[in-house]
């Protein structure tokens, strides 16, 4: 039971990183991405391959993951965000599809559906992190670090520019802000942070395959942000605490697996709709003035 709770907390840490980084886009910048699971996957594969092929340790893997994640997002953000936010929805979905295809089909590198086994455990200060309890500390510490980075970022002048761009691009541009550059920068930062979660996951499970990084996963991460609260940094953490407990709770009801998986998705879908009606700003969010039109 204790190990079970430890595992839950490790996953809460990982998803907090994912959702907090996505919140920079969805909540603070008004940019919608469907590619966060792909970014998560890129982080996982990049750091797993760095460990398996280059013999890089956990910390080196984190750096590689962040770099590759940022690069992939920039590649898509630069063409699409130049135009308009809706283009990024489509472009990010494209990224999600292409990246998943790469994971599955570039077999010489990613080993396809079979995945990559034997990813080494991380060493921290000479100590091997080999059981869920130690991993809880590492996972929550990195989640806290992500939180602090985002706190600094959103509280800075850059953070205020982000909100200005979200509220009124033309007004922001009129005050001399380079709107496109701001949007591309935040997308890149968000993806670099999201990729860290992938690295953490790969070294924790020690085995990765493409099924962990699908579109459904992207939508799940989005639900964490929306439910927890957009534009509140602690929102995604609350979202992760609640939504990760749901499947565990469903396990106690004796529902067959073939029904349980779609049931979970139905629940997420219904929650997304419900929240748009009763609390679009999420559980922790502050209500924003609604648009008049």
């Amino acid at each position: 039971m204790a190990a079970y709770i430890a595992h839950y907390l490790v996953m809460v840490g990982i998803y907090t990183i994912l959702a907090t980084s996505l919140n920079l886009l969805v909540g603070y910048s008004g940019i919608f991405s469907l590619a966060h699971a792909a970014i998560y996957g890129i982080g996982a594969y990049a750091s797993a391959l760095a460990a398996l092929k280059l013999g890089l340790g956990f910390w080196g893997g984190l750096v590689v993951a962040a770099m590759v994640g940022a690069l992939a997002a920039a590649l898509v953000a630069i063409p699409s965000l130049r135009v308009a936010g809706d283009y990024y929805i489509v472009a990010s979905f494209g990224l999600q599809v292409v990246i998943l295809t790469v994971f599955i089909n570039w077999t010489s590198f990613t080993n396809g559906h079979a995945g990559l086994p034997g990813i080494p455990r991380p060493y921290v200060l000479g100590l091997v992190i080999d059981d869920p309890f130690k991993y809880v500390v590492l996972s929550l510490a990195l989640a806290a670090l992500t939180y602090l980075i985002c706190l600094r970022l959103t509280g800075s002048a850059f953070g205020r520019t982000l909100r200005a761009v979200r509220e009124d691009e033309i007004a922001a541009a009129a005050t001399g802000k380079n709107v496109v550059a701001v949007k591309i920068t935040i997308t890149t930062i968000s993806s670099a942070l999201g990729a860290l979660a992938g690295s953490l996951y790969a070294h924790y499970i020690t085995y990765i395959n493409p099924t962990s990084f699908t579109l459904d996963e992207s939508i799940f991460i989005t639900s964490l942000v929306i439910l927890g609260g957009t534009e509140r940094l602690a929102g995604p953490f609350v979202g992760a605490l609640i939504l990760l407990a749901v499947p565990e709770a469903l396990k106690f009801l004796a529902i067959p697996d073939t029904v349980a998986a779609p049931m979970r998705q139905i629940l997420y879908g219904a929650l997304l709709i419900l929240f748009m009606f009763v609390r679009p700003e999420g559980i922790l969010g502050r209500p924003r003035p609604r648009s008049v039109a």
Binding site: G94, Q265, L272
Partner: protein, 294 residues
Amino acid sequence: MDLVLQLLATGLVVGSLYALCAIGWGLIYGTTLHFHVAHGAVFALAAYYAYVAQKLLHLPLILAVLVAILGAAASGLLIDLLLYQQLERRGAFRTSIFIASLGLLILLENVIAIVFTPDPMRMDIGALNTAVIIGPVFLTYLHILTVVLALVGYAALMVFLKRSRWGQAIRAVSSAPEMARTVGIDLDRVHLLTYAVGSALAAPAGILVAMDVGAEPFRGTRFVLLASVGVIMGGIGSIPGAMLGGVFLGLLENLGIWKLPSEWQSAISFGVFLVFIVLRPRGFFGRTIHGAEI
């Protein structure tokens, strides 16, 4: 060479399906500015309406298809009436509409998966399954019907938009909503009509795929996102553009596997899309969407 001709023919058939989705989705997006991903759920629902009408209610095929198209139109209309318009009345942001639409897509797809299982549900299509061999190209009557229906759907939509009063109202709202309101057009009613028409166009695509390879719950997501790619490539607000964009994507995916391994097929369209929006962000013939409109 034979292979190229076959890929060209298959590309045209698949492209016709994408085009049907794209003109419907493009009409809705151009008029309401809703990023209506639940269009994918309407696409799936249409297929299951046809399946239920034929297999469980034992209607003749042609009648089952008509029922399904009407059902899809009603579903689209209800989505706007009961979801998007209610949200707009509460002053929701455009992102909220998109999130609700995404939620509805997931919800409906998974409800279908529970009711009908995720396995393909086959329909009886009788003689439509007969092979037609034109030189080196192998197709079925159903495939030819697909191309014909896409052309008919496109032509009917264009005539409706240009000639009928309601069609003109849709065009008015699409090009200048405030101005349309000023001259007495009821925006909510025009939106409802747009959803009904756009959804009725997605229905044949969903049904035709179901007739070919069986109805599946999760296929719509891919179709609706490819439709949005087609619409952006064709140019937002342009129905001919959406049609062309859809056909182009079908051809691209299929001709792509002439040179590339087939497992990369799904990546081809999006790869080209990214290059395309760098070179020509407003699409073949459309207007650019500016940040301020979003």
